[in-house]
Symmetry: C3
Subunit: 330 residues, 3 copies
């Protein structure tokens, strides 16, 4: 580990001296902050995972969109001369990073979409400052809310504008009570499903991507990696117990928000102890309910929940965190 520390310090020194290397450093940290890690190596693993996953799913545009979004939002923060500490930690980059993943996933691949990624990434920075200011009183972070709000606006607008036409959005429909399908439920491999759930944080559904994400987390924080895996596992169990749609559970759609809630409550804003673990468990279970609820709320509008279940559940649990957890970090 000493080697790694030396390398890290050497890299940090280089990044301090060379503005070009610094920009690369901050861009990598931006990607890593999607899962709350302030570490360029984690970001590198994440980017590799995203490129692997995007090419595996024959959607290379998603990977390039992700890179573009992170670069543009980081650049916007530099040009706007925002708060240096937050800037260097990558806190203005992670929302643009996700905007860059989400838009090419759901919209037709035209030049317009690239312009929209650029615009969305710029506005994600404005939304981040706006939400940071708004939430300051309660010492709560903006989480991925800027990404979700900006992406929802653009995805909803895709129904109004032919220039940014949706191609992978669900058809708007009235909710119906879930009916268990008749016949054999396909086989599910628990290990594959748990890692798929983690890869869905970046809208990808692949075991190998999930494994790379966990390695990226472990590079910076073992606890973050542990909570990610346990969060995905617990969400899988809860959704199965409640008899949710098997295909959704299997693809990891009940897990990705829960993974983020688990990392946030378990390791980012608290030091793990018994009380914290119990709190994180309740938070993860509630996130699964919020996921099921928000799926229903968004059905008539034909847009996906993105990571909003995580944001809503975590805000609800983070505001009282200061009262309930003596050793919180907020």
């Amino acid at each position: 580990m000493t080697d790694s520390v030396i390398n890290k310090n050497a890299w940090n020194k280089l990044a301090d001296e060379n503005i070009f290397l610094q920009f690369i450093d901050v861009t990598l940290r931006g990607c890593a902050q999607v899962m709350f890690q302030n570490n360029p190596l984690t970001g590198l693993f994440f980017f590799i995972a995203i490129f692997v996953g995007a090419f595996l799913e024959n959607m290379p545009v998603v990977a390039f969109g992700c890179l573009l979004g992170t670069v543009v939002s980081t650049l916007t923060a530099y040009i706007s001369k925002l708060d240096t500490v937050s800037l260097r930690a990558g806190l203005y980059g992670y929302n643009g990073c996700l905007v860059g993943v989400a838009l090419p996933t759901f919209l037709e691949n035209t030049p317009f979409v690239w312009l929209t990624i650029i615009l969305g990434s710029i506005i994600s920075v404005i939304a981040t400052i706006s939400l940071m200011d708004f939430l300051k009183n309660w010492k709560v972070a903006a989480l991925t809310a800027p990404f979700v709000l900006v992406s929802w606006v653009i995805l909803l607008a895709s129904y109004s504008f032919l220039g940014i036409k949706g191609v992978a959005l669900p058809d708007p429909a009235l909710p119906q009570q879930y009916v268990q399908p008749i016949g054999n439920i396909p086989h599910s491999d628990l290990v594959v499903d748990v890692f798929r759930g983690i890869s869905e944080v970046f809208l990808l559904s692949s075991m190998i991507v999930g494994v790379l994400f966990v390695i990226g987390l472990a590079v910076n924080s073992i606890w973050a990696a542990v909570f990610a895996v346990l969060g995905s596992l617990l969400a899988f169990a809860v959704a199965t117990l409640l008899k949710g749609d098997f295909a959704s559970i299997h693809t990891g759609l009940y897990s990705f928000s829960a993974v983020l809630t688990a990392i946030a409550l378990g390791s980012t804003f608290n030091n793990p102890n018994f009380r914290v673990v119990v709190y994180a468990i309740v938070g993860v279970i509630f996130t699964v309910f919020v996921q099921g609820a928000l799926d229903v709320v968004l059905e008539p509008f034909g847009i996906p929940t993105l990571t909003m279940p995580f944001v809503l559940a975590s805000w609800l649990f983070l505001v009282p965190n200061q009262d309930l957890m003596p050793k919180h970090r907020q």
Copy 2:
């Protein structure tokens, strides 16, 4: 009255000394706080009313759910060692109390529902602290928002999970303009309807239950009882004048939120005087409009408004209350 005061003091002394009696005391107060009363005797009347109503409607599970919800949320507050003053006043119990009423009213009676009541009651406590913190700046109470938000999440999620299937939820539908039914409108008895409106605060529709609630209120505050009755009456009048659906008016569905607004604006957060009465009247009228509006908003999602019209209208009127009412209590 001297007797009652002596008994009250004797009871309070017992509750101070014996933790088991104290727990019963706080649980009763939790139920009473649904209508803003800090009095165990009021809570006792309310519980009796709920049991009477639930058995009259052949839904005993509702009464036991109510008891379970209040006990679990009170217990959660004790275990979490929350602020003693609020805890002893029952302020962590009333939302769980209502969660315990709402879930078995709308969901299939399976063991899952009982687990969901327990989970929902625990989360209602977290949501209460969260909202109390959020609203602190404006000196506004959380009201029944924690109950509504937690119950909405679970009721919406019932469309995603077969394990907590809805059985009494309205079918999701697009709103349509209300058309007055042709033929004779059934007879309506004003006195019955007014008390039914009060009983609907706990999702019950029965005159006797409403009368018991009013007695429970009067035990602690004559003004609260008076405003409850007048609020229900005024809401009945406004909805009738605006030509709302007769069956809904008759069942008390336009009244229950108005009852709570009337008590809150008229007696809980203000001392009654001319200015306050005018303000409360406008607030109650507006609550009827919000009820009509929220009914429409929730139609596509197939869930009931619960007491959200009261929460929204009262928040809107309570924030400026400090500027407008010199002798407010907030």
Copy 3:
């Protein structure tokens, strides 16, 4: 200009001395504040424009509703003895002014609608104080949110109550992807469309009305007039480029919120300079996306967006405005 200044001072002096003239002065300022101008002459131009437009469109009730709404809300502020500086600037009048325009535009012309305008105007004042208080921490204005919220409640409630039946509301429907109509797109005159977009701020669609509004703005602030025209033009260009519905673009429906965003970000809360202009341009482009998105969100509920796209986009851009713009005015 000296003459005008002298007249202005003479008028102000008269208004200070005579309570009746003062009331007229404040009512006129209330109308002018819809576009952020604190000037009775601007208000006079606006009222003239509204009467011209309403009679041109054979909807005189809209003009009288507008007058009634402004008078009632101004009167409410006087009776409630609200903060004198805000009161005299017309800040309690502009929301009632718009409520008075919106309700008779969409609802059946019955005596109920007039009662509803009166009620809505009174509540718009309460909502204004409520939102002012709520937003105080972030030094952000309530904008036209009180108008939108109160009008949405009443328009939604029109589906529940036959007494306030809607006649010009869109039918509730599930969103569908926009398909470009086959055949010839009708001719569009850029100049006409740009001014129509400005007139739509008061829900009117007429070039002459738009011109009168711009003159009214110029009387008080050349910059406000410039930003109004450029905002409308830019929104027209963006919506056309994104291939939105031609009829909506042509009628000005993509412009009116953008006009308000442009005035707010460009001239009201900032002194125009290069940085501010860039910020306002991004804000206006985003407003067009929010308009497209909110149109989709409201389709299932059968109500119009009113000026909510402006409010949401401007709040998002005004919270960080203090950090980003050194010479802001908030």
